[in-house]
């Protein structure tokens, strides 16, 4: 009883200090984005801007083709999230509730896909998209043109199916009672109807979690988007576009403008995370991957 009343000062101090170290870079990003021309880089360092100058945001708008960047980011993220949800749910249902030869083998294959590191695939994926037959001026053998790198398909193709998503869905669908599915089948429902009318509504909680994980991952993806947009600048996403800012502005002016651009790219995800953090955190607990 005596102990419960005691305030754990040391713990507060340590957790608080750690929290400051975690949050200060975000604050610095926010505050720097308001700093006037020539203010960044002046010594001694001042955390707060002299006046809250909004011109960096205007500059970011002017320098960047923001409508294009936003469109690419939004379309790619939406397509990837939608596709991962759909394919994971379908495959997860088949693996959890249908009986067919090869099921265990396929499930093991799905688990194995999670073990391969992404960097092994960058080169082959890029070459496959460049040589995609009958796309972007390619012949039937995949030569002669730029393949799928001409279209936004290049941004999304390698991410349309997720082994982790299938695994997550399968684990969740296993717990849907068989009686519910049987009852629907006796009423004459086909497997597709059973999936759509019974399984999909039952799996809404895990679907929200998977959607959030996929959304955040796709929105923040950098290396693949960088690669694809090096081949075709029309495919730049927000993170890639903002990174290009540093190449054509002088440092003192460029840093605040970049921070303004970064704020624009980070805000949607941060807001969504703060609203739905419960689902996201559960996803990370389940995956333990990120």
């Amino acid at each position: 009883m005596r102990r419960r009343g005691r305030v754990p000062w040391l713990s507060y101090l340590l957790v608080g200090a750690g929290a400051v170290v975690t949050v200060v870079p975000f604050l610095d990003m926010l505050l720097t984005s308001f700093k006037g021309p020539g203010e960044y880089g002046r010594l001694p360092y001042r955390f707060l801007p002299e006046a809250f100058d909004l011109s960096n945001y205007r500059e970011a708008f002017v320098r960047l083709n923001l409508p294009l960047l936003f469109r690419n980011s939004v379309v790619a993220t939406a397509v990837i999230t939608g596709s991962v949800l759909l394919t994971s749910s379908l495959a997860g249902y088949a693996l959890a509730k249908l009986r067919f030869p090869g099921r265990d083998l396929i499930f093991r294959l799905v688990l194995a896909t999670m073990m391969f590191p992404p960097f092994v695939f960058f080169i082959p994926h890029f070459l496959i998209l460049v040589h995609w037959p009958l796309a972007g001026g390619n012949g039937p053998l995949g030569d002669g043109g730029a393949g799928l790198t001409v279209s936004i398909a290049a941004l999304v193709m390698p991410f349309l199916v997720s082994g982790f998503g299938i695994f997550l869905m399968r684990q969740f669908i296993v717990s849907v009672p068989d009686e519910m599915l049987e009852a629907a089948r006796i009423d004459g429902a086909g497997e597709f109807t059973v999936w759509w009318r019974i399984v999909v509504p039952q799996t809404r909680p895990v679907a929200v979690t998977l959607a959030l994980l996929t959304f955040v991952g796709a929105w923040n993806e950098y290396i693949w988007a960088l690669l694809v947009s090096t081949a075709n600048p029309r495919l730049m996403t927000l993170p890639v576009g903002i990174q290009t800012l540093q190449s054509y502005l002088d440092p003192h002016r460029m840093v605040p403008v970049m921070m303004a651009g970064l704020m624009l790219s980070v805000l949607p995800v941060l807001l969504m995370f703060l609203l739905l953090q419960k689902h996201y955190i559960r996803g990370v607990m389940l995956s333990g991957l990120k």
Binding site: V24, D28, Y45, L262, I281
Partner: protein, 318 residues
């Protein structure tokens, strides 16, 4: 008559038995078809974006190819691998050593920080609030994380500003070969702290409260409780975080691209995945890039299997 009647009964009996069996077989057949229909998009995807690329990567690693015309691929045997490990090649040192140092440094920092913070968080109020704060870097794009820290490390940035305010001299964090790698490691650890804390606090919650009460009754101090109860009972979560973070560390290079561009100064922050990336997409040397990727892949695989083995063994007796 008797025989015929008998036969008739026999046929009818067999028919009655056969019909549900046939229905069941037809049902099973239909279920197989439906299942493969449901799996078709995923299986097609894995065939094109997993199986084919793996074969392609192996083929490329054994070839010489600098172009885009598939007809120009020339067999090269193990030349690409031999070149990676040849005397004077920068692949073993500093690139692979950097990769290991990067992963080790990240794990050591993130794990120590996460254990301390997770341990302390459980004694505080508003645990959800704290966890959310520590989680912010994880939902942030690597471009934001990398750039913010890059400019905080600059002579006119926040970190040097703090050092100056304390009366210390500025440090050229990312420009000095001696400090560049540790500087990036700190950021990677900072960014991965949140998920480690999350998994460890979940592990801590599973420790029965009575253990702590018993220790308290016995008069154990907080340090003893931490080393004798918390750490041993947390071992499964610790190992899990350790394994996953180490694998992530071995593979990462996005943060390095953002913070130091090409792994500079010199090769001070160059790691294997970045080396592969540059060989392929900067120099168009697909063959040696694929070889580098496969070497890193095997390294990751071996280390992962070793850690999993350790994980299981420790799990069994712990």
């Amino acid at each position: 008559m008797g025989r015929a009647g008998g036969r008739g009964r026999g046929v009818r009996a067999a028919g009655e038995r056969a019909r549900p069996a046939a229905r069941r077989a037809r049902h099973r057949c239909r279920q197989t078809a439906v299942a493969y229909l449901f799996l078709a998009p995923s299986l097609a995807f894995f065939a094109v974006f997993l199986l084919l690329p793996l074969l392609f990567a192996v083929l490329l690693s054994l070839s010489r190819w600098a172009g885009f015309d598939l007809a120009d691929i020339r067999p090269a045997g193990v030349d690409n691998f031999a070149a990676l490990f040849a005397r004077g090649s920068s692949f073993l040192t500093p690139v692979l050593t950097n990769t290991l140092l990067y992963a080790l440094g990240t794990v050591a920092l993130a794990l120590t920080g996460a254990v301390l913070v997770a341990h302390c968080i459980t004694r505080l109020r508003f645990q959800g609030f704290w966890r959310t704060l520590y989680f912010l870097p994880i939902v942030t794009t690597v471009v934001a994380v990398g750039n913010v820290w890059k400019y905080m490390y600059e002579p006119g940035g926040l970190v040097n500003g703090v050092l100056n305010a304390l009366g210390l001299r500025s440090v050229a964090f990312l420009q000095d070969p001696a400090t560049a790698l540790p500087s990036v490691v700190v950021v990677q650890a900072w960014a991965s702290l949140g998920s480690a804390i999350l998994i460890l606090t979940a592990g801590l919650k599973a420790v029965p409260h009575s253990y702590y009460e018993a220790a308290e009754l016995d008069g154990a101090g907080p340090f003893t409780v931490f080393t004798r109860i918390t750490l041993p009972l947390l071992r499964p979560s610790l190992l899990f975080v350790c394994v996953t973070q180490f694998i992530t560390g071995l593979q990462s290079f996005a943060l390095i691209i953002v913070m130091t561009g090409e792994g500079g100064p010199g090769d001070a922050t160059n790691v294997a995945a970045l080396e592969m990336y540059q060989r392929a997409f900067k120099y168009g040397d697909w063959g040696s890039a694929s070889a580098a990727a496969l070497v890193l892949f095997v390294l990751v695989l071996v280390i992962t299997l070793a850690q999993l083995w350790l994980f299981r063994r420790k799990g069994a007796d712990g």
